[in-house]
């Protein structure tokens, strides 16, 4: 098993509107993957395609190296957006539901989690707080014993404390069970806290994907006397550039050490990197035509 998600030319159209176009990506298995992107980037569509809630309009998607569908259901845990639960069913009844509908159900794990979370089994899910409901949905996803757990903005509706608890809890479960996880969020801080692999999706396109440590180690902010972008060394891949009269600031990716003494070099945070890639896509779109004309 090498990949958790693999999309090739994946596209999804709702009526006349494309929610996802030409999406090609590989997400390795055995990692905790953060899928980040602005609202409307196609994150939810991608994840819903991955679990088979949607069918692709174009292209293909494979999960755990197999097409989505019937037999894959048992291997994938899915915590949907807004973590839906049955309001009229109690916590215990949710576990019973899980036990009835999943052959691989791990009841002792589920019971232990509920106890650990301090949830009252008799409580109706409709009376739980948002954080508790998300935890219940996560419990259902985990106790199913999937190979891959997909979470679609699981913490979007939670307050910062509940958010942190949820993600911590998720991480504990992941280390105990050696799950692959794909988690989407529009907040980099969520991803930074819990993931070790990052995919940035903007306008259906993967801007960058890679190991978070490697990303942090290969991106720099360079500031120095004003100079043109084209005069940068070949192995410096410029993500963004800004200029004042005298000074230029570049965000670059490079695998090589930076030797030029003219630069003052600083490290980037993950948020800086993500924002740079998101901004790049936006500015590329805006300036697409004029830039092309200039080059011709």
């Amino acid at each position: 098993m090498t990949s958790a998600l693999r999309a090739r030319g994946l596209g999804k159209k709702y009526g006349r509107r494309w929610a996802l176009t030409e999406c090609t990506l590989d997400v390795p298995a055995g990692r905790v993957v953060g899928l980040v992107g602005p609202n409307g980037a196609g994150k939810s569509t991608l994840l819903n395609l991955a679990v088979g809630m949607l069918t692709p309009t174009t292209g293909s998607i494979e999960v755990l190296d197999a097409p989505t569908g019937g037999p894959q259901l048992a291997k994938i845990g899915f915590v949907a957006q807004d973590t839906p639960t049955y309001g009229r069913l109690s916590v215990a009844e949710h576990l019973k539901l899980g036990a009835h509908l999943n052959p691989g159900w791990d009841d002792s794990l589920a019971q232990a989690r509920i106890q650990q979370l301090g949830l009252d089994p008799k409580q109706r899910a409709g009376k739980l707080s948002g954080g508790q409901r998300a935890q219940l949905a996560l419990t259902l996803g985990i106790a199913k014993r999937p190979e891959l757990l997909i979470l679609d903005e699981p913490v979007a509706a939670l307050d910062p404390l509940a958010r942190r608890e949820f993600l911590q809890d998720l991480m504990e479960a992941v280390t105990e069970q050696e799950l692959s996880v794909v988690l989407s969020s529009h907040l980099v801080s969520d991803v930074e806290r819990s993931c070790d692999y990052l995919v940035v999706l903007v306008d259906s396109r993967v801007q960058i994907s890679g190991d978070i440590e490697t990303l942090l180690a290969t991106h720099y902010r360079l500031a120095g006397p004003r100079r043109d972008e084209k005069s940068m060394p070949q192995n410096h891949y410029v993500i963004s550039a800004s200029h004042t009269d005298r000074q230029s600031t570049f965000l670059v990716r490079t695998d090589e050490p930076i030797l030029d003494p003219a630069w003052s070099i600083s490290q980037l945070t993950l948020e800086d990197i993500v924002l740079a890639y998101m901004g790049r896509s936006a500015s590329m779109q805006r300036n697409d035509r004029p830039v092309l004309e200039v080059h011709r």
Partner: protein, 350 residues
């Protein structure tokens, strides 16, 4: 999956089953007494029982409940079945367990749909069995006040035999399909209620008459079989629009009737002397009334002139033929709607 289906459905199930069971118990308790009375009074049966209020009450209550069952089942068992999941987003929870949504739907539809048919069937059986002496007496020509409608006629037909089962299955499938399309419980409930009631009203007019070939007959109007006379115009010289007669036999369902002349041509108006065949005008003096000739003379003249009534009708013997055909037709429609649901649910639903 059966556990979950029952858990989500038990409240609606208990309400309907409770109402049906309550009525069924009363019917089962009073039914044998009614059957005994039929044995005892024979030809005078309806006259004897008509003043017993409980009989009228149960007759109406049974009929109403059998008619109410399909719309209620369609709206409250069928419509929310999928719509409620889509509305609350819980379909994204339940469809991502280890069973496919096709299997989820199979269990839901089979469990609830068969439940709908069994409950309605039991109700219809109880009502049909209880009312059997009354229906028999009416088909034998008895009438008494309230009890006068043969079981083949639309007001009673749909509350007897197997037809309610077909309607229940159809209403349930319609509710599920509508819920799947509009994705909102309340709207789906309203549409299903309206749709099923409309079908119940329209089916006796648009569908049922054509399920079997009706019998055509020609009768001569006589004093005994005349059932109606329609006049139009001023009191002194009215135009006779139509006359109606009764076909031979009891318990028939008349579909159409027209008067033809000796050449076999349908008549728009009838000879004016026919006005004499009816009762005297309300403002007639006693002398005028006395001077009228006997009715039989008037009808004899009509017959001598060659006028006949052409009647098409379903005889009482068509009852079960029509019952099975109509039930079968609505079961087929239910299967069609179910097929649509399976097709639709495999497609995107987020």
């Amino acid at each position: 999956m059966i556990w979950l289906t029952w858990r989500q459905f038990r409240l609606q199930a208990l309400v309907v089953v409770g109402a049906v069971a309550a009525l069924a118990v009363v019917l089962v308790v009073t039914g044998p007494g009614l059957a005994d009375d039929y044995q005892r009074y024979a030809g005078d049966f309806l006259n004897q029982i008509q003043f017993d209020r409980i009989n009228q009450y149960l007759y109406i209550a049974g009929q109403s409940l059998v008619y109410a069952a399909p719309p209620v089942i369609g709206a409250f068992w069928g419509a929310p079945l999928i719509a409620r999941e889509l509305e609350a987003g819980t379909h994204r929870l339940v469809w991502n367990q280890s069973i496919t949504r096709t299997r989820w739907l199979v269990t839901k539809l089979a469990f609830t749909g068969i439940g709908a048919m069994v409950v309605t069937g039991a109700l219809s059986l109880a009502v049909t069995w209880w009312a059997d002496p009354i229906d028999d007496a009416i088909d034998a020509g008895q009438t008494a006040g309230f009890f006068e409608i043969p079981r083949l006629l639309p007001p009673v037909f749909g509350a007897r035999g197997v037809v309610p089962i077909g309607y229940a299955a159809f209403a349930f499938a319609l509710g599920v399909a509508v819920g799947l399309l509009v994705r909102r419980s309340v709207v789906a409930i309203a549409i299903t209620l309206a749709g099923v009631i409309a079908i119940q009203i329209l089916s006796p007019i648009l569908i049922r008459p054509y399920l079997m070939t009706p019998v055509e007959t020609t009768v001569i109007v006589t004093v005994e079989n005349m059932r109606g006379l329609q006049l139009s115009g001023p009191g002194q010289n009215p135009v006779v629009m139509r006359v109606e007669a009764k076909a031979d036999g009891e318990g028939n369902w008349k579909l159409s009737e027209q008067t033809v002349n000796s050449a076999g041509e349908a008549q728009k108006t009838l000879p004016s002397y026919l006005a004499e065949c009816g009762p005297p005008p309300p403002n007639a003096t006693a002398e005028e009334a006395r001077s009228r000739q006997p009715l039989s003379v008037c009808f004899q003249r009509l017959a001598d002139d060659g006028y006949r009534q052409q009647i098409t009708y379903h005889p009482a013997s068509h009852f079960w033929g029509l019952q099975w055909r109509e039930a079968g037709l609505f079961l087929l429609l239910a299967f069609g709607l179910t097929g649509f649901c399976f097709w639709r649910i495999r497609r995107d639903l987020t």
